[in-house]
Symmetry: C2
Subunit: 402 residues, 2 copies
């Protein structure tokens, strides 16, 4: 039976999960891939003296590059550097690269795909969005014959867990975050999750897959959930809505509106039923209608499943990958269009501003609340900003409706 | 630009949807496939004098077979015959075949896959399960490196619509069915839907994809929803559960439990939130956890999307398809194992049998009801059947818990 040699870069949670999957599911992998997968090298700064893989560990990346038996490099280090350098070097050495690292895909995906094509190898990253959920392969392989109107998703499990706690148990953001940290769902430094950075990288990748345009992540309008207050949860419940942090890319008349921010979702929206650490991605296309992919968006096992799954097309069809994402880097900032993005919004101002709101926003719907809370017409970001400026009092909350 | 010629067999709802998609999304298809798709022939018994495609219509299948410009035959006739004969002839003529016809896949999939392999062409059927939802390609292409414990799904939109109406509006089965027929969701003769036959074909296909075993559909334990009464809906609501018609294949210690029947689902089950004509398929694997694919399970546009989507791997990778389902036909009847399948069950008997139930079923939980309704322990089908026989009164309802 053929053997396919792999190297694991980064022997942390996901890298360890991949090693476990390859060990525990040896039979499934053999029958699935028609080929054995053998771990040849593991690159990490640490040693793992008590691991059954300890003899494979190296601290020197050139050991990976120079090993002719390594067909595919699995990069699970996270971060941009040295993941970027190692990816480029691996591809240039004629090795396929599979990654779970959304940061490096969002920042440099266009370059990796170009080099991979030149070298006749594959660069694949199913695990970078939605953990174990098949999202990228179905998006690339099953739906692009449609006119894609929108890709939207709950792309970060930590923030979805926190919001679920706030809705189910009435927790404050601070308490829900502390609970997520205690359970290991949130990092000690949770900024990348709660401020939306992680979701922003993922929606940037999904946007590139759906529209062929790769935006600079720094230009994507990104709000996290740190500003969501108990009063907002109460207001949402009064409206029978839930608040979810969504990444969205809406393609309309040649314009892409790309954003990460909390949204108010009606209870019949499929995404509103996605709870806890689960993720989901919804694609809306013509004539497809809407389809949704749902599952565990993180965790060693689920992510490892996606990483190892990316071997199948490489082994079945060969290294050369004709179904590549159209990662065309665009210089237009993504948030340029965002000011023209139209939505209904829930807005909370300090009590006592009702008269001014009526005067400036017109005939809005007020929500029963201890604050001056109301719902705007469907209007552009620019318009809402102007109105709020004209009112001239601090805005306590502004949350868009889906 | 390259051209890929197709023939449409059956110019009904789905066939028409495919022609519309190819016409309306010409640009998307070109950029997606890197190739133009051209309809060369349309086979139907009818003429379509007012259709823009009227000149392509033929009543003679040999026109399709003899047309060298037809690379791929799309079979959307439904039924086993002559779909079977046309599929075999097309494959043997060296043409790829794509189908939306679950009946012919469930009955003859093994033979088609074998002939396709011999001829170096593709046989693909994404549209046969879940309409527009990518299910089969992700199942074949993304998750088989896991130990698959279960594939289960809401596989029929008509019955899900009827059950949703019964739960949301308290409709009787008869009224909900009449409404579904009025809206065009159910056929005049709804037997294949409401008796579970359609779902049975689909779970037979999914079972073959997940376990490599193709069972005779006639041996799969199949119950429909015709026996679901208002009293059952009320009992389910008392338990905060919903009733859904599920196809399930549970793989446990080398045994496959394959079935189609109504189940009681707790409200936190992802499948319980799937309403109306939507379908969803959930896959449970190790270390993947559970993932779900959700969307429109029928309709011209959604199904056409899946049919046309199956062209991508053919055009990108060539006709020869190394990722084929392990359609190994097994002679063991699927329902042989079913008698050993264990589940908790809700059972309703005529009022007044409480004493007998306690005597024979032991310490069960009774549900407040005008009937003698109770919940059994988790026990085998055989055991429950024996107990019911011993009680010897007509069973009004027996619905399993998920």
């Amino acid at each position: 039976m053929k053997k396919h040699g792999i190297a694991i870069l980064g022997f942390g949670v996901v890298g360890g999960g991949v090693a476990d999957l390859i060990t525990n599911n040896r039979e499934e992998i053999k029958s699935y891939l028609g080929c054995e997968v053998e771990i040849k090298r593991i690159l990490d700064l640490r040693d793992f003296p008590s691991s059954p893989f300890s003899s494979l560990v190296t601290h020197d990346f050139t050991d990976v590059i120079n090993d002719e038996d390594v067909d595919t490099v699995m990069e699970m280090m996270g971060g941009s550097h040295p993941a970027y350098e190692y990816t480029v070097a691996s591809l240039k050495a004629g090795k396929n690269v599979i990654t779970s690292n959304k940061e490096v895909v969002a920042n440099f995906g266009d370059e990796f795909v170009r080099i991979a094509k030149e070298m006749g190898v594959s660069y694949r990253f199913e695990a970078a969005v939605g953990g174990g959920i098949p999202v990228i392969n179905p998006l690339l392989g099953c739906v692009r014959q449609n006119k894609i109107h929108e890709v939207r998703g709950i792309l970060n499990g930590t923030t979805n867990y926190i919001l679920t706690k706030m809705f189910t148990y009435g927790d404050s953001f601070e308490n829900a975050l502390a609970d997520a940290q205690a359970k290991g769902y949130a990092e000690a430094n949770p900024a990348a999750d709660v401020e939306g950075t992680d979701a922003c990288r993922k929606i940037t990748i999904l946007t590139a897959l759906a529209t062929d345009k790769l935006y600079d992540v720094k230009t994507v309008h990104t709000e996290g959930i740190t500003g969501i207050r108990k009063a907002d949860v109460l207001a949402a419940e009064k409206l029978s809505h839930k608040i979810k942090l969504l990444g969205r890319c809406i393609a309309e008349d040649g314009v892409n509106y790309v954003m990460v921010c909390p949204f108010l979702l009606p209870s019949d929206s499929p995404l509103s039923t996605v709870s806890g650490v689960y993720n989901a991605v919804e694609v809306v296309g013509d004539p497809l209608g809407n389809v949704m992919f749902y599952g565990q968006g993180a965790g060693a096992g689920a992510t490892a499943s996606a990483v190892v799954g990316d071997l199948l097309p490489i082994i079945a069809y060969g290294s050369e990958n004709p179904i590549v994402p159209g990662f065309n880097r665009v210089s237009t900032p993504a948030d340029e269009a965002f000011l023209r993005f139209e939505s209904k919004k829930y807005i909370a101002l300090p009590k006592g501003n009702e008269e001014k709101v009526r005067e400036i926003f017109g005939n809005v719907d007020f929500i029963e609340s201890e604050e001056c809370a109301f719902i705007t017409e469907c209007e552009s970001e620019a318009r809402t900003n102007e109105s709020l400026e004209a009112i001239g009092v601090p805005c306590l909350s502004k949350i868009r409706f889906l």
